[in-house]
């Protein structure tokens, strides 16, 4: 029987495979001769006995070629392996013929689906999934509404905020102070410093304000934002609109919480060496908008955003070619490729200052340039001083 143990192993002591004159067992298994029964088997997996017969007959012709070669094999022994090899290809053709999906019964699918739903939505998966499906249906049929700026609250809350929240909470570990300075209702203008090469600070401010007050911050963006494909439409869906006096006043009159970053590209595109030094605050357009609508100005100081992408260089010629304000070079960005786009995990502090009231001025106050400049300076100084004190309090950049 020791011999019988050796025989089915196959290479008969010769090294490698296919060194013999005849094709190997595997090659014969793939030969087109057996193709016809395989196809028939594929069509009817629950094979009737009629189909079996040709499958069993064919290997009978081939089995000797596999088994007659070893001279020392006893004549009675091959009988058992012959049957084994005869049925083995048949079983194999059965498995191969059926597609990978056809073999799994519907019940298994359902069970897997239910299990996955339970994993995803918890024990209350049925109503949860029904709600999710209702949401999905609303999206697919377009049965939702956007406001006049194109703001889509549903998708903002469900997706944009949900996607940004881990970044805000786990990556930047944002600490928010002075949330009570944001009015619970009515129009207000949040004025913030701008930094970080990519306007991540705006997104983080949106998430933080929404999580702490439940209000949506409506950012005012540069026209470059709305000129860019994808970015522009996502910005509109997220509640942004163009930074122009018409839109700002319209939103403030409509009782929205509007966010502006008056430094603009000068702020986010400033070199790392000038971090936390406020740039010029535009032309004070945001102050006139607040004066005209009489809403409070809430100064916001953001510490931490400067360090996410330390801007050490710029390619002005390429920037001009592409029509963008700057092409950033950070210690990691072009060097590590896409990996350089991962922001550094600096620790962020957001402090909302005391609101500056604008409703006590006369009606024509917005037309008085000196007053507008003074209020602009007041807001700017408040933010700058808060930035300095926050920097003093901060233990280190990353902690």
């Amino acid at each position: 029987m020791a011999d019988a143990d050796i025989i089915p192993i196959g290479t008969r002591g010769q090294p490698g495979r296919g060194t013999g004159k005849r094709p190997s067992a595997a090659a014969r298994g793939l030969a087109p001769k057996t193709g016809t029964p395989r196809k028939a088997a594929a069509k009817k997996p629950a094979a009737p006995p009629k189909e079996r017969t040709p499958v069993e007959e064919k290997p009978v012709l081939e089995t000797p070629s596999l088994l007659d070669a070893p001279a020392d094999v006893p004549a009675d022994v091959p009988a058992v392996p012959a049957e084994v090899t005869a049925t083995a290809p048949a079983a194999r053709t059965d498995e191969r013929g059926a597609g990978p999906l056809a073999g799994i019964p519907a019940g298994d699918w359902l069970a897997a689906f239910q299990h996955a739903s339970r994993e995803l939505f918890g024990d209350q998966w049925e109503p949860q999934l029904a709600r999710f499906l209702a949401f999905l249906r609303r999206r697919v049929t377009g049965d939702y509404s956007v406001d006049e700026y194109g703001f889509d609250p549903e998708v903002t809350e469900r997706f944009f905020m949900a996607a940004l929240r881990p970044l805000a909470q786990k990556w930047f570990r944002i600490e928010v102070r002075g949330v009570e300075n944001i009015p619970a209702e009515g129009g207000a203008l949040v004025v913030s410093n701008h930094s970080g090469t990519v306007p991540v600070d705006g997104l983080m401010t949106m998430v933080s304000i929404h999580d702490h007050t439940g209000r949506f911050l409506r950012p005012l963006g540069a026209d470059l934002v709305f000129r860019l494909p994808v970015v522009g439409s996502v910005a509109r869906k997220g509640g942004a609109t163009l930074a122009c006096s018409e839109d700002a006043e319209r939103m403030l009159r409509g009782g929205e919480l509007v966010g502006v970053w008056p430094e603009g590209f000068k702020g986010i595109g400033k070199p790392f060496s000038e971090r936390y030094k406020l740039q010029r605050f535009g032309r004070g357009g945001f102050v006139s908008a607040a004066l005209r609508t009489g809403v409070p100005i809430v100064p916001l100081s953001v510490v931490g955003a400067e360090e996410i992408y330390p801007l050490v260089g710029n390619i002005p010629s390429l920037a001009r070619l592409l029509g963008v304000p700057y092409i950033p070079i950070t210690p990691l960005f072009p060097l590590l490729g896409p990996l350089g786009l991962v922001p550094l995990p600096s620790k962020w502090l957001l402090e909302f200052g005391e609101p500056i009231r604008t409703d006590e001025y006369d009606d024509g106050a917005a037309e008085d340039p000196m007053l507008v400049f003074n209020v602009t300076d007041q807001v700017r100084e408040t933010i700058q001083q808060t930035l300095y004190s926050l920097l003093m309090q901060r233990e280190s950049v990353f902690r």
Binding site: A130, A134, G142, V146, Y149
Partner: protein, 353 residues
Amino acid sequence: MGAGRTVLVTGVSRDLGRTLARTLATDPGIDRVIGVDVVPPRGDLGDVTFVRADIRNPVIAKVIAKEDVDTVVHMSVIATPGSAGARGTMKELNVIGTMQLLAACQKAEGLRTLVVKSSTTAYGASSRDPAMFTEDMEPRRPARTGYAKDVVEVEQYVRGFARRRPDVTVTLLRCANVIGPRVVSPLASYFRLPVIPTILGFDPRLQFLHESDLNRVLRHAVREERGGTFNVAGDGLLMLSQALRRSGRTSVPVPAFAFGGLAPALKSVRRADLSPELVAFLTYGRGVDTTRMRTELGFEPHYTTASAFAEFADSLPPAARRTERVLGSLAERLPAVDDDRPAQLTLAGGTDG
């Protein structure tokens, strides 16, 4: 509202003008309605007297003088060269036609009211646009070609006329894109395409005015005689993606640079006419503020933007809506949800602060 008003309507060969002329003729306050166009109308004009005249030549002055017209409704500013032939003809029809008509109006002593149907295309569409245009705003990028430029020029002439004839009530109605089951317009034919190309990465805001509301607002303007410029549009906005989902059409995002090449191809097979201003509109969208329409003009549209589009979408051949059916059949197997409580999706991140 004095009895015996005589109204002259230009551009009656097209459906919107013809319908307006017919409905004006049934108005008890109006005695006579005269329809003017270069080509005879395609349908029944009812009680309207049709005068085949070209507003591009001074004959129109004789018609106005002879018939003692006191109200002129000008709606023969066309958006596409389609029927007129080439762009040159279209421009001539729009601009020179308006000039001639206004010149004739200036001479007409008995004229009391001029109603001009303009379009919100006058505001253009660009990335620098404010979200909602009010009547006082100018386009951020002045139009240099096509229909948009025609509209701007027509409006200039109308304003000039209003200055010269302060005794005439001039109502300029800037209507949003008119839509409805029977409307033939560049935008309507765009939405009737079997597969709708959209511009990759842009999702414009759209505003529609239902065809019956257009008819109503023009009649309202003739009846009420309130001078000024008014934006006219249905309430609310639709995003293009939303509109396509609602109509169940298949859309294919095409990069902006390739979209320009698509337009002539579609035009050559006569499926849609994607003029540059329509492409700009489909890129950046536009919204107009209709406060003045309500407060000063005193007009209230019956249809919102969404319901106007829904009615238009019903007239389209039914779409497959496979995803919707699959989701629907799945949802039927699950318990019903209360709509008040929004679904709590916890796929990514938590909702807790």
